[in-house]
Point group: C2
Chain length 412, copies 2
Amino acid sequence: MAHTTPPPHTLTINARSYRMPTRPVVIVCIDGCEQEYINQAVQAGVAPFFASLADKGTVLAGDCVMPSFTNPNNLSIVTGAPPSVHGICGNYFFDPEQGAEVLMNDARYLRAPSVLAAMAEAGRKVAVVTAKDKLRSLLGHGLQGICFSAEKADQASKEANGIDGLLDKVGMPLPSVYSADLSEFVFAAGVMLMERERPDLMYLSTTDYIQHKFAPGTEGANAFYAMMDKYLLQLDAAGALIGVTADHGMNAKTDSLGRPNIVFLQDELDETLGGRTARVLLPITDPYVVHHGALGSYATIYVHDASDTPRVAERVRALPGIQKVLSRAEAAATFELPPDRIGDLVVLSERLTVIGTSASQHDLSGLTVPLRSHGGLSEQRVPLLFNTRLADVPAKRLRNFDVISLALNHAA
Amino acid sequence: MAHTTPPPHTLTINARSYRMPTRPVVIVCIDGCEQEYINQAVQAGVAPFFASLADKGTVLAGDCVMPSFTNPNNLSIVTGAPPSVHGICGNYFFDPEQGAEVLMNDARYLRAPSVLAAMAEAGRKVAVVTAKDKLRSLLGHGLQGICFSAEKADQASKEANGIDGLLDKVGMPLPSVYSADLSEFVFAAGVMLMERERPDLMYLSTTDYIQHKFAPGTEGANAFYAMMDKYLLQLDAAGALIGVTADHGMNAKTDSLGRPNIVFLQDELDETLGGRTARVLLPITDPYVVHHGALGSYATIYVHDASDTPRVAERVRALPGIQKVLSRAEAAATFELPPDRIGDLVVLSERLTVIGTSASQHDLSGLTVPLRSHGGLSEQRVPLLFNTRLADVPAKRLRNFDVISLALNHAA
């Protein structure tokens, strides 16, 4: 193969080239998959697919994009690009023109096309299955193919989703949005699609309901990974090239007795600087917060009067549990974020601490088990696993959004 | 109580004042006790003593001293002071006069007296039980009282240890140095001593054999915490004021399949800068390395020619997995370390990575389970737990070496 001209049958999207799949490629994003979950499941002997990768596949790790949240990372994975390119850097941002917090779950906020859509446009069969419906519209934007969520599988139609009759075809009842079944439905649908449709490229994206509740190696976690392993074995047996990564890791955010370590940032700023100085926004906030109470290790701050920014930053930096405070420009440069959709300051808390706004604004009644969450740098390291040998893996910092490129361009 | 003059019955040691105990005080250092171990054991319902502390006791967290290793922290706990005061900052340092790596496990390297020794000198009955013998001589330095290790309990004599016939008195056989039993012997001995001797101040220090092997919430870990909880209930029932802390936390240091993430620092420096430029020393190295292969998240570097120090630092900073590189002066100031016993550079690796010297120097055959270790900033947060309410806890950063002061000076 000559290296001076692009090989045939490639497509270029967001300035990266991808070879066309020569066998079915399945990219799996396991939501909240701290690497230790896989390690412990393998140790427990319940994950033969994962265990086999040391010998017959490729085991790497990479960094997810910051903030280590679901939407920015799923969008990075399917576009092969950081949030500065695709525009999605959280669930919410503050729109100064509207003077309001704006939900970023709508496809009109997307600034880049996905590899999925481009692959479909190039005539390949593409399928996307998400756990929650909130991701479906973003991931399916511009996509001619199959695209549905487990959450609304009962409402899927040929017109809107490229497939119908899902509950029958998958052979599972509609799962609850707060359940391990929601993710199992994603995998069962993936296996069904591989049998019935044999897509050239399939993207499966789970939800981290289990990882928010169970620590690596505990019974609930091992059962979940055993379930995924079973379906991955089936996809593997069907001849698929499988690439597995995660949107972010997951860590305990509590003290010795499981009580959450929370910095209520809005309260702190209101008390020390006055109530109108700065507005704290938590981009993790979304319509499904029961399992984490909208508490993560990342926040943005909008400062009403720009001249106050340095003293707000100084005040936040001094708080116990805070790891980093970056200006808008620093955060945009360091984490490749769109500067117009982050605050004047970006705040990260350390591994065991989360950031809240005001104590009165967080309903913690849904936290029936000790808080586990994400959002910070401590959740940036994620798996990059393949069921085949890769060749010529670039000797650079790998990212979770390299997963499609690694699968399509580097499979031996 | 007047605050202008010291209250009666206090002693001052290493510039801190301690009230004399009015009931038996037991300070427990659980080696490698990441807070999540306690949280998960409480969640599993196997740790009623720990679970009770939320209501009837005090649950705090503090930072251990860096490096997050056993000896520096045990010495800090018993002296109430950082390594800059007591002098012990690892198991080894490089002595330029001798031109050799020198073991720091000998009491002649101690630069400060302990609260234990001072309390005994003031006429109070003091007892110390360690798991491994390496700590016994350091902790018992200058102490008139009972002091022995579980490891050599069979050799204890009245003359050398203040007590004999230990296997009979404790009612357990001599435990293996690599076992959970070694720590159980410490607790069983503590309960025996409370019954027979009722010491005014007792220090119990376990070993982290279990924490190096088992993740929080897994069966092996929960069984270990259930064991400790059972003995703590007995000490509690005997009327002891109990303070629990840890020398350091513990984290997985592997990839998704449990393979260690190791930066072989000596190899990296030899390859890029030449073999005589710098010498990497791992202060975690000790005679008992089977369970961690001498791999932790902290290293020091001695640079042969001082003018090379900046480029060595620059080279190390660029390595993946390295979190921080500090000069001797920066490290001494930041971590309160004795500058004459650390290298020209101090290196910390990030949570999931450990530092080795040369691949050929590490015997990993003893790592029968995926590596879990410590040494870095990611293992700095530890529990500070008390079986009674504390009053007037200082509103400052708490340290594990505040545990004796909190127990003696702040118990309600």
